[in-house]
């Protein structure tokens, strides 16, 4: 893994509220665990890895080094159809399995994920570029928790939907993105399985490996063959799932990804009666009032936009700062940016890892250009970037107008647009002035104001004096064009049951 060139990196001098912290060096702290990988992966169908009928395969790379990690099957339409058939065949028996017995298998999966969590975290960082401290401390604990939480739901569904006779939906087609590959797999699979459904999971093209390792874990834990099938490939494999759903072969489609693709899926399924949930894009506001605990707010803004390189659908990508503290707050933020460490995702000290793909880096760079071209002022964290791989310095734009492209469109990268406001009314109005509605952040020490802001912001998740918090028991999902349906908690189960005793 070629990071010798950045083995020892110096922190810059940091000046914070008049106190200067001298530069100091970090020794590299590379993660030593190496995941057990096969050199080639087939498709996980009917409880085993099979050769794709398409005969096609692609190399999946490490975006931090551009080196190939493994060769993965590229599912064609016939392969997706085969996976759907396997799921259909397995569904009645899985639905009839005593709920308490289904639960035991899901509990066991949660335990096995905990046992193999370091290995999975390393693989997640290798394949997706996210810092190991995030995959280790955020993604993997949540993955295990999702299976554990939903395991317990298996035999309690009649209480969750009291009087409504919940039934499984049937076969679920689940298409997930590359930003939280294993976590999104868990969010999709765990509730579906708890409710007695079977699944065909399509991981993102650039990040298939942790899902495939999860396939091995499901086998180890005794999940019956065909209950979960994993088809790797590009957008065509995803489209094949939607096409099969439109023909009545898949009963439910769950998609997390871009709003553009979400709308295309909604159109393809119009009139089909297929259940659909969509968790789509965002342009979420993070609002800082003058009375906020400013250093905490700075940390919240940092987490809001630079967590996972900004590849987060609920990223706080629009910062609204009360006008009276704008200058002070931006100074604090710039100082904090100087100590962000960008580089090797497998170094435990890394704050910001690699951009997930060359294509995404190009997209981000287009937005950086648009920001400057339209007149906003850019400030970048000063840091050396590795020579190979896909990288982008964390940056903020000030002087942004609401009409600017970077204030309206989702960038999905480490780019923050800063704007100001004068009154709480103006903050609400500007924050809600978007077609999206996934999340919102508010920083204020006034409890009544915080709660009223929570009431009035049009977003599915509102973080007050915190940001980017997730939990298996807390529903997550969007308002408006950020999609519909919730994931997590009792509310998230609705997507995976038919009510009223079914048709």
């Amino acid at each position: 893994m070629g990071f010798a060139d950045s083995a020892v990196r110096d922190s810059p001098a940091v000046t914070l509220t008049g106190v200067t912290i001298a530069p100091f060096s970090y020794a590299p702290a590379p993660e030593s665990v190496r995941p057990t990988l096969r050199s080639e992966y087939g498709l996980f169908i009917g409880g085993r890895f099979v050769e794709p009928k398409s005969g096609a395969a692609f190399k999946t790379i490490n975006p931090a080094t551009e080196e190939a990690i493994a060769t993965v099957a590229d599912a064609g339409e016939a392969d997706v159809a085969r996976a759907v058939d396997a799921a259909r065949k397995a569904q009645p028996k899985w639905a009839k399995t005593k709920p308490a017995e289904r639960a035991k298998i899901l509990f066991r999966i949660a335990r096995r994920i905990q046992e193999r969590s370091r290995e999975l975290a390393v693989l997640e960082s290798m394949n997706g570029g996210k810092p190991i401290k995030e995959s280790r401390d955020e993604d993997l604990p949540l993955v295990a928790q999702h299976f554990f939480h939903h395991a317990g739901w298996c035999d309690k569904l009649d209480y969750a939907f009291a009087g409504a006779k919940p039934q499984p939906v049937g076969v679920c087609g689940q298409i997930i993105p590359w930003n939280f590959p294993l976590l999104m797999a868990a969010w999709k699979l765990a509730p579906a399985l708890a409710c007695g459904n079977t699944c065909v999971l399509k991981p993102a093209e650039t990040t298939p490996l942790t899902a495939l390792m999860l396939g091995e874990i499901l086998q180890e834990c005794g999940l019956p063959d065909g209950v979960v099938n994993i088809v790797t490939g590009g957008p065509d494999a995803g489209r094949a799932i939607t096409a099969l759903a439109a023909k009545g072969k898949v009963d439910k489609v769950a998609f997390t990804g871009s709003t553009e693709v979400g709308k295309a899926i909604a159109k393809a399924l119009a009139g089909s009666g297929v259940k659909l949930t969509l968790e789509l894009g965002g342009k979420s506001p993070n609002i800082v009032f003058a009375d906020a605990a400013l250093d905490q707010a700075v940390e919240g803004v940092v987490s809001g936009i630079w967590f996972n390189q900004g590849h987060v659908c609920c990223a706080g990508s629009r910062l609204f700062v009360e006008e009276s503290i704008h200058e002070d707050f931006i100074d604090r933020l710039r100082n904090r940016m100087r100590s962000l460490r960008v580089g090797d995702p497998l170094d435990k000290n890394t704050d910001v890892g690699a951009i997930n793909s060359k294509a995404q880096l190009a997209t981000i760079q287009r937005y950086l250009k648009a920001g400057s071209d339209e007149g906003a002022e850019k400030f970048e964290a000063a840091c050396d970037l590795p020579k190979k791989g896909f990288w982008c310095r964390p940056c903020i734009f000030t002087g942004v107008q609401p009409s600017h492209t970077i204030a309206r469109e989702e960038i999905f990268g480490p780019v923050l647009s800063v704007m100001t406001f004068r009154t709480p009314e103006e903050a609400v109005q500007r924050a809600n002035n978007t077609t999206y509605g996934l999340s919102a952040g508010v920083w204020t020490e006034k409890a009544a104001r915080a709660l009223e802001m929570a009431n009035r912001l049009n977003a599915g998740v509102v973080w007050l004096n915190t940001f980017n918090r997730f939990d298996a028991s807390a529903p997550f999902g969007g308002y408006k064009e950020s999609g519909f349906g919730r994931e997590g908690g009792r509310q998230g189960l609705s997507a995976y049951v038919k009510l009223g005793g079914g048709r």
């Binding site: 998740v461 028991s473 408006k480 919730r486 509310q491 009510l499 048709r503």
Partner: protein, 301 residues
């Protein structure tokens, strides 16, 4: 027309108009549709709502909705209970319209009317319990106080099927407004077996004499297939409620809605409208709320 003579007296026939923003306008298009009774005799002329009537109704509904959503749940409950009182006073009229237009027996009609009124009472009682049942405090694994609360979506179009005109109207409309949304009801005038525009307008008269604020419930009688694409593509409509719709209408609604991802819930899985266990449940309301989850750190600083 129902200009029947009884004892030498000519009946005063009702002009059927639309119900928009608390008033009874005619369709701006000037169009009407002949309504036949069960014996295929001319019964009345119903207004045939246009796209412009829909837009006017959306404008009124959107303007009225925030105040309705902000009213206390207790207040909304009392207003909807008052609506049940107004419906109860019109039992005979509803039943007689079902008999003459749908051709149902008097006993069937009376039972259907009672079920619809009781369902209205049920939802009057739901307003201040929705949050308790659909939301709640979340036991997250960390030092955070987290709660999930249902919120109204805004303006919801309620697209009625051809069957069971009063019961389907109450079953689809009441959950929508109980949750704090405003509604635009599309009552078909030309469907079979039982499009019943006179009954929809009798319902509007009950609404008009209740305490439901102007603009919260609007009723358009018209050609459903004509209006569905306009409902689907209207950006101010946040959701669509419907059930047992013809496939073409369902598809038109879902296709157009994909443009701005409005929530279309057509109760594909739901049982018949007589099933009280389902149609009185919070799961009839759930599709017409958005769930918001709010986090705050919890610590002794």
């Amino acid at each position: 027309m129902s200009a029947t003579q009884t004892g030498g007296r000519i009946e005063v026939a009702k002009t059927l108009k639309l119900y928009v923003n608390g008033a009874f306008p005619r369709s701006e298009s000037g169009r009407t549709v002949l309504v036949l009774d069960a014996k295929k005799r001319a019964f009345a002329h119903a207004s045939h709502a246009s796209r412009k009537d829909l837009r006017d109704a959306v404008e009124a509904a959107s303007a009225a909705q925030p105040k309705w959503a902000a009213a206390t749940a207790y207040n909304r409950g009392q207003v909807l209970y008052r609506l049940a009182e107004m419906l109860e006073a019109r039992r005979a009229e509803f039943a007689s319209l079902m008999v003459s237009i749908e051709g149902r027996t008097k006993a069937e009609a009376a039972k259907e009317v009672d079920r619809a009124i009781d369902r209205c009472v049920c939802f009057a009682g739901w307003t201040d319990k929705i949050a308790a049942v659909l939301g709640g405090k979340q036991p997250v694994a960390g030092p955070y106080f987290v709660f999930t609360m249902p919120e109204a979506m805004g303006t919801v179009a309620v697209v009625m099927p051809d069957e069971r005109p009063l019961l389907s109207l109450v079953s689809l409309l009441l959950p929508v407004v109980a949750a704090g949304n405003s509604a635009i009801v599309i009552a078909p005038v030309a469907g079979k077996p039982a499009a019943n525009a006179p009954l929809a307008i009798a319902f509007a008269e009950a609404v008009a004499t209740s305490d439901v604020p102007a603009g919260i419930i609007n009723i358009l009688t018209g050609a459903r297939a004509e209006l569905c694409p306009w409902i689907a593509s209207h950006r101010e409509i946040a959701g669509v409620a419907g059930a047992r719709l013809p496939a073409a209408d369902a598809k038109a609604l879902e296709l157009g809605a994909a443009e701005n991802l409005k929530r279309v819930h057509l109760f594909h899985d739901a049982p018949a409208f007589d099933d009280d266990a389902f149609w009185h449940s919070p799961f009839a309301i759930q599709p017409f709320v958005d769930l918001k989850t709010v986090w705050h750190p919890s610590a002794m600083f």
